[in-house]
Symmetry: C2
Subunit: 458 residues, 2 copies
């Protein structure tokens, strides 16, 4: 440890409670990375700070500014883009102990939370008022709301309810120099000044540290109907998505699962779905219109070659639960990469065909699930480690192709995972030099010493 | 005209077509202001520039940068906050001739538009595909989408569908120095880099000039049911809002109209609504759930002292149309001021009581309509010009009280109109010095010469 680091930690321990500054090797190692699979190995941070109140975050940032010490803030670390990986000197600011739900105001339909509250815990707490917090990333049982805000997390229900940004009304943010500001408003509408709330949302800890959030809640649906639809082919399943749209049905959840993923589900859950279909749609209809929307879906597909789950059965609901965890359970590793592009909805079939061609060319296995309701695809590429002909290079080329093709079709390199470290090289493929420069300027404005999660996101 | 101004215009006319640079007195005067009622009289701009393509906007901004010439961009000028008032040397950039719908992609559920397209025209164009553009400010038949983006416009339907920001996916923006950048994405989801799209949205022409927008469309509802509910008192009407929420009904439109406004409607439309109620709610239920939501509302109020419009009648629909134009028709003048606060939904009764007390104390007439579904209130204050005891000073104090009380209750000074000029003095009541400074720094970053709508919004 350098003398600067020693001195920084000495000063930190003077102002923070003993139990807040942890240097245990295991804790350092656990906090050195997220779920992202990076070729470069993370190193240990010099310490992990666990604040319990905003003032401690301010004290940390004041010292970090004084010492020029990089600070990486994080929650549960369930991100998959390496957004909190430690690659150089850094202290980790772990906000998981700031986990109080400060207020639930059912009549205002808002909740006020600290950043360490688990997404699912908020939903449990507000359900008794007939309310829900809508954004539901796959990690919702583990990930923190602060992390959700930092990545502008998506999930299954955003087809209908929007992503995290649409549920964030106000943020308390500790700036790089330790000042605490409050941006946004407590109301659903509000246009006073610039939209700084949206600027901080999704900025991956590079512009400030969120220490309190006012979140909009939605009505817990009075009714939910789940339908699964097995199609002979992926093409027909994608066409089915257009038919649902043309019937002006707005599902809360609309997932597409390809044949390879159906086979994985069959293996995991001892089902035999792959025998009856080439691709599957899973739709959840909710609210007062759920029953009529379910009827409408059944009418749309009545005379088509589609196997629908029977009305009232729990089959589709179970499938949605299986789907929710189908990528969460199988983490990426060096030989398996899950991607996250989004493309305009009409381009789905063409995209998949080109993706399949790219995978075939590189002899890489491909399976795919998609939040097809909003054009967000999660293809998973994998190779056998002991395969001939540099499998890792082929994997890498297939993944890059998937991103390039998405961009050629007017898509984006990341629908909901964030840029982190893993997608940083691709950002200039999507954004012009002027836009990149503008983002760097905004970063410099808010973090002139470049101590907030340096090197990430932009 | 100063020699700088002469030289600027000479240079401008060299690069732009003759018909694009207008100095006709009537046109100058028409373009000197919006619908906002400011005590200070606007002056004429030195010219009004009507570009027909983005490149002309770039050429204008290059020259403006060279000459340090302030540029105020505008659309139809239906704003009510003085956001495009001319108070000093300025050229007006009127984008109304850039009014092409560039593309409608029904399967992608997006439209690509130039900024001068009228909100309503886009809705007419996309209706044939079963789609709609959701944000519907009162001015939707006149106002431009560029103006809607500049003010992050709201409207009636945002109770369910969100404000303009939720429908803006991507923007082409000409920067102060004439560079053209594209921010955002063509997809519903996308988290690459900072949310610059949201930063430009609602920035009131102070950060750049929007020359193209990719807008998200929604499904045109398959069913719409309108219900009017007349309550004995305002208190009971507001309680009714909570009962609707507790039944987890999400109206597309939920408007509250007070007794004084009902009397105005009675006078305008020769109705006799005020005889049967003290306050009115107007609800529009839409989509597949419309019929069931209407049933649910009728159940909620079955045993209460509430007069509901009969099922299947057009009464409530007519009332919603009357309501849509009830403030648009009566523009503000020196003796009448319409306000635009938003407050947390639970505070509505308390707010109205305090508002009434403030109006009474200042002997000012008060009537009020409210987008009550999202807590956005539009009280209108008025005095008789020939009344004794400085009526304008009393009017001014009552208006200021309405804003202060909203802030005391955790509200905002502007729910949807924007800050413009008229609310600039109130912004420091809502936002801290640090937040104001941060916004000014962002402004300086994007507009170092302070030539983009200087003195507005922040």
């Amino acid at each position: 440890m350098s003398s600067k680091q020693v001195s920084f930690l000495e000063n930190l321990k003077k102002v923070l409670p003993d139990e807040s500054v942890v240097q245990d090797e295991l804790v350092l190692s656990e906090n050195s990375r997220d779920f992202g699979q990076l070729s470069e190995m993370p190193i240990n941070p010099i310490a992990v700070v666990f604040p319990t109140e905003a003032q401690q975050v301010q004290q940390l940032m004041q010292l970090a500014t004084e010492f020029g010490m990089p600070v990486i803030s994080r929650g549960a670390g369930t991100g998959v883009s390496g957004g909190v990986h430690v690659l150089g000197e850094a202290v980790i600011l772990n906000l998981s102990r700031m986990n109080r739900i400060l207020d639930i105001r059912p009549d205002d339909e808002i909740a006020v939370v600290e950043p360490g509250v688990i997404n699912h815990d908020l939903n449990v707490a507000v359900a008794k008022f007939g309310l829900m917090y809508a954004p539901d990333p796959a990690s919702y049982k583990m990930s923190t709301l602060g992390g959700n805000v930092a990545t502008n997390a998506g999930g299954l229900r955003c087809a209908k309810y929007g992503v995290t940004r649409e549920s964030v009304l106000s943020l308390d943010v500790v700036l790089a120099d330790g000042r605490l500001i409050r941006v946004g408003k407590n109301t659903f509408k509000g246009v006073a000044g610039y939209d700084l709330t949206a600027l901080f949302t999704g900025s991956e800890g590079t512009l400030g540290v969120v220490v309190r959030a006012v979140l909009r809640l939605r009505y817990l649906p009075v009714d939910e109907r789940d339908v699964s639809l097995l199609f002979p082919s992926l093409e027909e399943a994608v066409h089915g998505v257009q038919l649902i749209a043309k019937a002006r049905i707005q599902p809360a959840i609309l997932e597409l699962i390809d044949h390879a993923t159906i086979q994985v589900l069959d293996k995991q859950y001892s089902t035999n779905l792959s025998a009856s279909g080439g691709a599957m749609l899973l739709a959840r209809l909710d609210g007062y219109g759920a029953a009529r929307e379910e009827e409408a879906i059944r009418e749309v597909f009545a005379d088509r070659n589609v196997v629908l789950s029977s009305a009232g059965s729990s089959e589709a609901t179970q499938l949605i639960e299986m789907r929710r965890t189908s990528r969460g359970d199988t983490k990426d590793d060096a030989y398996r990469t899950g991607e996250d592009v989004a493309i305009p909805k009409s381009k789905m079939v063409e995209y998949v065909h080109r993706l399949q061609a790219a995978a075939k060319q590189e002899r890489v296995d491909l399976r795919m699930i998609s939040h097809v309701g909003d054009g967000n695809l999660h293809p998973t590429f994998s190779v056998e480690p002991d395969d001939v002909g540099d499998p890792l290079a082929r994997l890498h080329r297939a993944v890059e192709s998937s991103v390039r093709i998405a961009l050629e079709m007017g898509g984006t390199i990341t629908g909901e995972h964030g840029v982190g470290l893993i997608k940083k090289d691709w950002l200039p493929w999507e954004q012009s030099a002027d836009v990149l420069q503008l983002q760097r300027s905004i970063k410099s404005l808010l973090d002139p010493l470049n101590i907030l999660n340096p090197g990430k996101a932009i």
